[in-house]
Symmetry: D5
Subunit: 121 residues, 10 copies
């Protein structure tokens, strides 16, 4: 098995910091393990943010998301941790992270967390 | 026939009480009996809540929902009772419960009730 | 031909008057006659209301809707009349009635009327 | 209440009898009464036919369909009767009639009947 | 809890036995219990048949389907048992029964069984 | 070729002027000619208005829309002209006209204009 | 009003006559006039053909379709006439023409005609 | 990281071997690693089979599918291997396996393989 | 290869400057090259603006969009540059530009930027 | 501008030549130039083939498709050329290529060509 990819996020300078604008990312290939049963969970992660001076780099996001593949993670917790990590890396003016998980026990769960005040754009 | 499952809800500590965030649950497998005719009714129950110090535990929700299987329940009443029980168990900052029932007599009914003030997140 | 069903609406006590909550009804089987041409018109009627002390009873609504089957009724008028009748019967805190009619002369018409102030729930 | 429209179907000459071709009609505004309960039923009627020397005239079809409005009719029977009447009126090379009824008692019914051999076109 | 409804199916004479035609029924409100875990399962049952001398009566089908509510039943078995019971009751020229079950363990199951030779209509 | 239908709009008294309510019309069969190339353009026109003392009459709207068939008209201009003509004819409390045009040069255009203040209903 | 565009179809050599292959065209912007009422009708025309030595040229098809704009034409007839004209122009190995007309009098009509034997490709 | 789940499939006796019938399974949570890049791939696996004397057991299928999580596997190969393993375990009369993979390099791949002759049911 | 089309935008006078109204454009055929890898990227560009004294001319927009075909451009940057160019050309009262890019590395990106204050219309 | 990518296709050995099975590829990012006007055209290319001893390699397909970016190509011709090139490279038992082009002049074109006899799998 390949070694686990890194959780390090990379950033690049925002070419248009003079303006509030919104970047939305949809990542349908998130998978982790249920901490209680060890069984795999699947989710689509959706991110919407207004950059300040930094943009999140796509390839590093891909590796970051991939790094959860063999980690245990509860739905509510992992969505908040992704939010925290993205805030720490890029300090956006506003960011929303949604974890949209597949059905377990006949129940579908979606977790949504935000940081900062959503600007009117 | 198996004995009726319990209406007891379980809760776990919210790992991120420092932040308002939203958990949405969709439970398409609710069924109860019409108190007037004794015939089965079917619904999808949708819950959206902002936890305070407690999270609702998924497996207990499943058993709770299942507990209505052989009980009589009116559409408007059962939606409000689910809301009351979830509030009593987890004391969320905000919660919305929607009961989306299948067609009866050519009419489709949806009941929506909330508790607390919906935060801007 | 069977005799025309009654326009009398029935109500039952609201089991949860302590709370603003919303009941939505979708009735896709409305039909009446065009007063000008005598030809049948078809519509879906959608009702959304916040009950005060009374709930509208489903079976009576079905007969009420059925009572228009052989009556002449203009789109704009009949939607407002349904609204008036539902207000008179149940005195809801808020109510919206939508008449969504099928295409006539290549034009689709939807009429929407409300009574009371829509509460934030 | 207006008098019941006629069940007489009109036909016009087929301008292209030299060729097998197919005419499909979708009529979403069929309604009749349940012979057992007297309550209204609703259906979409779909017709697909290969004309021989005659075409079914649209306006007469509309009145024909309208003529069932205050008649009692079972799902299986009425679909076959429409087929019989269209065959008697236009003697098509092939015809299929589908009655697609709305939900009753939680069950949706579709009836499909044909006359003649479906040509390969 | 009300007593279990009957598995007896009723039939009525086919008003058009002179012709092969098809009746399709969709019953989205089937529920039974998993024989292994006792937990509820949910399915849509779809039936398509060509009647011979008898039609299946809708209200009895509804009660028949409802009778599984508190019975244990495996997906593959129950679909075949419904097929057997419908054949025994109405002896159709052809019949297909589909059991379309909701997701369990991340897997969706559909079972399809037929009796007799599907006629070309 | 038949003579061009009239642009005269007809109005009828609003039977419920005591209340703000909304009438929505969708007219998918608008066509005109491009003033630059002479080629046909196609659009769906959507109208949403709150009547004051007058309602727009459907049959006259149909002829009005038809009257553009052989006229040259730019997308932005014709949407505003329809709005002006409807305002002149019925003096509604509020009105919105949307011109939703088909693709030209790989680009889809939608024009939306309003008159009056949209009431909260 | 601009002069009527030509009904002349243009063809170009088929670059791959050594092989049976299929070209499908969808033309959603057909309009003509009803010969009885003079009112406009609208349709999508769908063509599917297997070329022999000639291909139909797109720009000429566009003008050909446009040429019906101010002509009277019955649904069944015009679909067959388009088929005849395309056969005369390009002599394809197989061709199917579908006229998919918008609702008139609550009825939607689709006409489908073919020429030649549909090859297995 | 939890130990890899087993590739052993379990079977149970077919309760209706007297009849050809079809079982369809949809498993949207397949993931493996690309043997060339080590990066995760995602697919939905669809299985359709006609059992002979044995049925495939659902829980074991879930673990089997899970066992690929940290294995390298090419799209075309893994679909065929799943087919081979299911044939070896249950010897069905007919079986089809479809691997429906997510986009890689802007290209979506679907692989479909069968074993045995598809019966007419 | 043809020479690169011009980035020059053309404008025409707004025929209705007396009113705030909205023009929406959807351009699904944008393609450029990734500055890092040289590989092609694809996007739909959506523009929504409230014109002041000038309208953007459609044919010039088409050439402008086409001009990016062989240029390197990052998602976030190019969306903002299109916004800047449209503002410079037409000085609208309000404008929003959305770049909706296809999946790269399993991640879908959408960038949205605005200029001016969105009027209430 | 980067140099044009290569049209050379790569192949790898088929790991399961003992069996007829089907590989489907969907490539939504094809673009070329119209030979008459020099303007860009866009298409989705769909390939479905039954490999013999060779599989088409995905990364080379991507570069092959990319190589048309600045070439002139007619719809009917380019679809057949892609088919010819894929046959020459991998000699599949059966292959179908579909070119699904975006609207030009209000007309949508789809071209479909096959090589070999489609096996029953």
């Amino acid at each position: 098995m390949p070694s686990q990819p890194s959780k390090a996020l990379e950033v690049v300078p925002n070419p248009h910091p003079e303006r509030d604008y919104e970047v939305s990312l949809e990542i349908p290939e998130f998978t982790c393990l249920c901490p209680r049963t060890g069984q795999p969970d699947f989710a689509t992660i959706r991110v919407r943010y207004v950059p300040d001076r930094l943009l999140l780099e796509l390839k590093a996001i891909k590796l970051y998301i991939w790094s959860y593949r063999n980690e245990g993670a509860f739905h509510e917790d992992v969505t908040n941790r992704i939010l925290d990590d993205f805030v720490a890396a890029a300090a956006p003016r506003f960011i929303e992270v949604v974890g949209d998980f597949t059905v377990r026990g006949g129940i579908k769960t979606v977790v949504r967390a935000t940081h900062g005040k959503r600007p009117e754009i």
